[in-house]
Structures are given as structure tokens and as C-alpha cells.
Symmetry: C2
Subunit: 136 residues, 2 copies
DNA sequence: CTTTGTGCAAATTCTTTGCACCAAA
DNA sequence: TTTGGTGCAAAGAATTTGCACAAAG
């Protein structure tokens, strides 16, 4: 709890109860959850929580670089507190998102060559994970 | 028109009037359009066209590997008839999507190492394009 | 007090579905 | 005549917005 609160302060986010809980959840559940997943899990503990607050908070966190938003699965946004350089693997069978290490400096040269400025790089790999392969 | 029709047949898609027109549009407008963009442009020429048909058709094309769907911009799907290996650059300012060449064999080893099978790799780069940089 | 956060309900956006009609084989 | 394509209207899912109330400083 206190660790999360300090983290929030460091990124200029006022640590309200809900914000701390949501950030805490993200730190302890590295499953790239959707807003709804976070809401469903936390509402058990905080019955007054609303989905709107979860959305508001995640948006604020993203703006303040506390997390990145990933759009790898069907029509939903997922959130990742690991803001370091890495790729994501989406298993189309079990719908899980896995982190994949990478040394991506990929094709940034081409963009820069034309004078473009890069803010974000997303590498999304889709397929079937090892567990789902086995079950065949 | 005939070129498109043959292309469709080759990928096991019956070349109806609408399908040919939509495929034609995609071939001649390499702007990664959304379903709505395609609809708005084509309805001028084909007043009876419906957005549903555009969606149906794009879905069919995707299933038959005539195009890939990209989710790089905010909440919309865009379509690209270039199914070869390349990355996409999204300019957050002008909202355009540009093709970026790449030699991506990126971090596929890590996935395969764990026994996963890769179907698709999407590389999305976001930032500001050269034109939008200049205007500052 | 005054500002900021929270949460309900309604709205919005993109996409899909159900269904009836139409066209082609 | 049977199959498959088209298109309208309605539904659906994820996210955002407007607004009122609550909390914090």
C-alpha cells in the first residue's frame, strides 16, 4: 500500500484510496488486465467502487507514465505497469497476454530517416502459447 | 476491375460487384482506411451500398488472407491489402498510418523457445510524422 | 470554502447480428 | 429452387461524458 502511494506521488498522482488500490492491484497482478477485470476483482473488496473510477484512474496513470495501454486482444484495452521495453504475445486460444523480452531498436531508423519522432513502439505477436499447443 | 476479380477468385472469394469494388478501392487507396472511410467513398459511386456489406466483405477478405487488419489508431480497425512483412507508423497529429519497411524476425525466438506458435506479428510505432514536425 | 475525486446513468462509437429480400447458378 | 450476397434496423460491447455528491486541504 505505502509503496504504491509513494510511486503515485513520484509520478504526480495524488494517492487516493481507490488509486492506491488500483495501482496495487496492477503491481500484484501482472496479467495485463482490462478495466473490467480490475473492477470485478476490486469491487469484492471495495463494494462502492465504480467502473468509471477504474477507467478514470487508468487514464490518469497512463497520462502520467505509470502504465502503458495495450491493444492486442479483440476489442479491449489492457494495461501493463511494466513500462520498460518489451513485446507482447497474445494466445488466441486461452486469450492470455504474455510479456516477451526484446531488444527492440527495430526499424526506428526508417522512421527517423524521414524526420518522424517516435513516442511508442508496440510489438504484438499473436498465435498459440505452449500450454495450448500441448492440449492438442 | 478484372485484376481485382481474378485476385478474389485466387483467394476463393466469389467476385461479386461490391466485393470487386471494395477490393479495387483497397488496391488503389493505400491509406489503411477504416470500414467507414471505404463506405463513405464508395457510396458516392454505389448509392445502394451498405456499411454492413463493407464490414462483411472486409471480414471475409481477412479470413481469406486478402488483407490484414490493423489496430494502431484509437478505437478503430484499419485495413491493409499489403500482407507482406512490414511495420506501421501512426502519426498522432495527422492520424495517418504509414508503412515502414522492416526485417522482422524479432523476438520470435523467445516465443518459439517456450513452444508457442506464431501466427501474426504486428509492429506499431506511434509518434509524429515528418510533415507534422515541420509545422512547428 | 474551494478544489478535486468518485460514481451513477446516459451517451457515444465501432462493430456485429437477425432477418428479409434479391440475385446467381 | 437452392444457395449465398446484400442491406436495413436493432443489438452489443467497450469506453466516455455530464452531472451531482462527497472528500480533502
Amino acid at each position: 500500500m505505502e509503496k504504491s502511494a509513494n510511486m503515485l506521488r513520484k509520478f504526480d498522482v495524488k494517492p487516493s484510496f481507490q488509486r492506491i488500490k488500483i495501482f496495487d492491484y496492477l503491481l500484484n497482478n501482472r496479467i495485463h488486465p482490462t478495466a473490467d477485470t480490475i473492477y470485478r476483482d476490486l469491487v469484492k473488496e471495495i463494494p462502492t467502487l465504480s467502473l468509471t473510477t477504474v477507467y478514470n484512474t487508468l487514464k490518469l496513470f497512463e497520462k502520467n507514465n505509470l502504465l502503458i495501454s495495450i491493444k492486442i486482444s479483440e476489442n479491449e484495452q489492457r494495461f501493463d505497469v511494466d513500462t520498460s521495453n518489451h513485446a507482447h504475445f497474445y494466445c488466441k486460444t486461452c486469450k492470455e497476454v504474455y510479456d516477451i523480452p526484446t531488444e527492440s531498436a527495430i526499424c526506428t531508423k526508417t522512421v527517423e530517416q524521414y524526420g518522424g519522432k517516435i513516442d511508442e513502439i508496440h510489438i504484438y505477436i499473436k498465435g498459440k502459447c505452449n500450454k495450448c499447443q500441448e492440449g492438442e
